[in-house]
Symmetry: none
Subunit: 246 residues, 2 copies
Amino acid sequence: MVDMTDTAATGTDLAGLAGLLADRTRATVCLALMDGRAWTATELARHAGVAPSTATEHLNLLVAGGLLTDVRQGRHRYVRLAGTPAAELVERLAAAAGELAPADGGGAERPAPSSLTAVHRRHALAAARTCYDHLAGRLGVAVTDALTARGYLSWDRGLTLTDDGDAWFAVLLDGASWPPASRRPVVRSCLDWTERRPHLGGAAGAALCTHAVEASWVVRAGRTRALRLTDAGRSALRDVLGLDLT
Amino acid sequence: MVDMTDTAATGTDLAGLAGLLADRTRATVCLALMDGRAWTATELARHAGVAPSTATEHLNLLVAGGLLTDVRQGRHRYVRLAGTPAAELVERLAAAAGELAPADGGGAERPAPSSLTAVHRRHALAAARTCYDHLAGRLGVAVTDALTARGYLSWDRGLTLTDDGDAWFAVLLDGASWPPASRRPVVRSCLDWTERRPHLGGAAGAALCTHAVEASWVVRAGRTRALRLTDAGRSALRDVLGLDLT
DNA sequence: GCGCTGGTTCGGCGCCGGCCGAAGCGTCGC
DNA sequence: GCGACGCTTCGGCCGGCGCCGAACCAGCGC
């Protein structure tokens, strides 16, 4: 819960924060970083289609604004989203950008049928993707539902991990990385903007996602946030969760 | 229902939406509207400290962007947040503006604790105020309800004043200023923006308001539109309308 | 009819910010 | 040492946008 008394954001504050995301290039950068990984400055520059010098300026702004953090390593500058609040903000805003009606009576259609590859990418994202550092899309929601159906997650009085669920995670992760060490909330409900239903976030969601990648349940589709479920992943999910994905 | 496959926000989309809130004036407007009420264009212009023409442009942008909706009523333009998603977005962004670390060590302090008087004024306005020239707020709606309950107002096929109602006004106003001389409609339904319910406007509403002020049923709170119900007014309303206000 | 007032449209002004290319600086590998 | 590479800093260009004032339009009351 947020402390409201301290949240007396002035118009200037709000405008400042929104201004960070109000630029096409910066927005593209933030969306790219939603895969939870750290990108180098030049990678982002290429991705956004601007000169390296331009990217530097944008990254400086975003870091100064608290949305991104960077790490210098050798001659590289690695940049990532600053944390869960930042990721949530971008996610929320991106979702709203799709939801909100244009209100101009349907004059400007979507800019164009968009390239065919864009359509494919969209479908891939809706099927399975990472949301910051955990699973999202139909896959993420399905996994969350399965965890709930088996009694590993409880939604009474907020989302909690049951004792059975804790045990399940311990077995799955082989004790090595469980329970999580960080102070971060173990489970957290994250609203999925393609499914409009919650999926599992938090430390548990992150650990599960990490495991899924390491165990090759899923593979990243190129450089995007999209994931592709492997055959091994499909059978593994059936084994450990009784989840039958077509 | 929105087509899901279309909900893949691009950097441009995100930037566009964020851009709506990336201006100090527009952000101030949206924050002001967070009280759920509808404001007139000039009220907002004054509140934000810009010329009316400037406010018009901003409001057009916000409406076109789907964040705000407006209703023309007479010569006024009432504006309010488009809906729950829009309000949630602003809320979220405002909260994040407070949460996110400034990252610059914390130079500029908060300008002011956002006066306590503003809160008081809001409450006072919701309780009772003038709406152009008639009573509004909880008081205005309560009076209107009482008039209806006693059969003085009829809402079949539009709002009309019944014969009993006409007589009631004649008695109350002592014949002097009744019936009203102007060509203005005698009764008129006016939507109350704090109560979201209709209250009485038109010549009858204006006459009633005038009488209420002259008979000291209510007194104006300073220079604002807010009204304060006096003890005399409370007992008078009980006498003439059977209206029991706590 | 007239005057008042709330709102909008239109020109024009000034500034801010995004962009680039060129030059500079550090790191890495040879 | 040297070049290659990643990144940054600095001018400078240009478009866009927020602002205003003046004129105009439309309700409303008289």
